[in-house]
């Protein structure tokens, strides 16, 4: 799947996200009266919502390393980008933010729920384990000034734009 992805990425225009999926397709064959199942790998592409050339900054990676992959919003504002991730039950000290080669990596761990002795699960839907999400940063982000806060299970990361990247109005004398 990984090699299929990198091949697909190379062939796609910049600003398009790709997801590789294993799909089962079912067709009803009326001659044999049977449902025929075929499995195949498919490439789903969807445009990332960039307004123009300058805005093609982020390319997010949706391939999760484990079952727990926090949902992420990326919003662009006049002077900054805001990343919001949902990480309920994750402690501040268990989250790591790292910027290397213009790639922001948000990783962390949600500890396993300890089941007390003589207890049993009636329902266990909350997934645990490590998670990693990566975001490619544009050069117009001031990596030195990235800040983050974690409140009520919501991780908010603010990435300020470089001075030069901020919109300016030039008055004509």
């Amino acid at each position: 799947l990984q090699s299929a992805k990198s091949e697909a990425v190379q062939r796609l225009p910049f600003g398009t996200s790709v997801e590789i999926l294993l799909v089962t397709k079912r067709r009803f064959n009326s001659t044999t009266n049977h449902l025929e199942e075929t499995m195949f790998v498919t490439v789903k592409r969807y445009p990332t919502f960039f307004n123009n050339e300058l805005d093609r900054l982020f390319d997010t990676d949706r391939v999760a390393s484990t079952t727990f992959s926090p949902a992420m919003d990326i919003a662009e504002q006049e002077n900054e980008y805001v990343l919001v991730l949902e990480t309920p039950g994750v402690k501040k000290e268990d989250v790591k933010l790292n910027v290397e080669d213009n790639v922001l990596t948000i990783s962390g761990e949600r500890k396993n729920h300890q089941l007390p002795e003589k207890a049993s699960w009636m329902r266990n839907e909350i997934s645990t384990g490590g998670f990693t999400r990566t975001v490619k940063l544009s050069k117009n982000i001031n990596a030195e000034k990235i800040s983050a806060e974690l409140n009520d299970g919501v991780l908010k990361i603010v990435l300020p734009k470089q001075e030069a990247a901020k919109p300016r109005t030039i008055t004509i004398n």
């Binding site: 997801e19 999926l21 799909v23 089962t24 397709k25 079912r26 067709r27 009803f28 064959n29 009326s30 789903k44 969807y46 990332t48 919502f49 960039f50 307004n51 805005d55 900054l57 982020f58 997010t60 949902a71 992420m72 919003d73 990326i74 919003a75 662009e76 504002q77 006049e78 805001v82 919001v84 949902e86 990480t87 309920p88 039950g89 994750v90 402690k91 729920h113 089941l115 007390p116 003589k118 207890a119 049993s120 699960w121 009636m122 329902r123 266990n124 839907e125 909350i126 997934s127 009520d152 299970g153 919501v154």
Partner: protein, 135 residues
């Protein structure tokens, strides 16, 4: 007829894949853990970014209902979204507990986006040790 069925399946599979944007924007429904212990039931609900006042917990007999609303934060005023994976909306989840609960002793706490509810079992519902004499 065959075409019709094929079309139906096609639509179904297209609609159900992860790449579909509506999948990410779907109604919010929190994940829940329920552990049954000797003297209590412990419930955990994932509610990231939900205000305490927007959650309602009710017990009706053995039926526990957790409902509320996850509101979209309005702080991001003039934003251009490049990715939208979080979902919002009202939710309601109900569970039938295996035993009766002391309704007046139910406790709840909201921390790090997780709601924890302690439901102490009623005295008669606690596991009793029965001694059987063998003659």
């Amino acid at each position: 007829m065959q075409k019709e069925i094929n079309r139906m399946f096609d639509t179904f599979w297209r609609g159900g894949t992860l790449a579909d944007r509506s999948f990410y924007e779907g109604e919010f429904s929190p994940a829940v853990d329920i552990a049954e212990e000797d003297d209590q039931c412990l419930v955990k609900v994932e509610l990231p970014g939900v205000a305490k006042d927007d959650v309602k917990i009710t017990m009706e007999g053995n039926l526990l209902t957790i409902s509320g609303e996850k509101k979209e934060q309005k702080e991001t005023k003039k934003s251009n979204y490049h990715s939208l994976e979080r979902s919002y909306g009202s939710f309601s989840r109900s569970f039938t507990l295996p035993t009766t609960v002391q309704g007046d002793k139910v406790g709840a706490e909201y921390k790090d986006g997780v709601l924890t509810i302690n439901l102490p079992k009623a005295e008669e519902a606690k596991r009793k040790q029965i001694e059987v004499k063998v003659h």
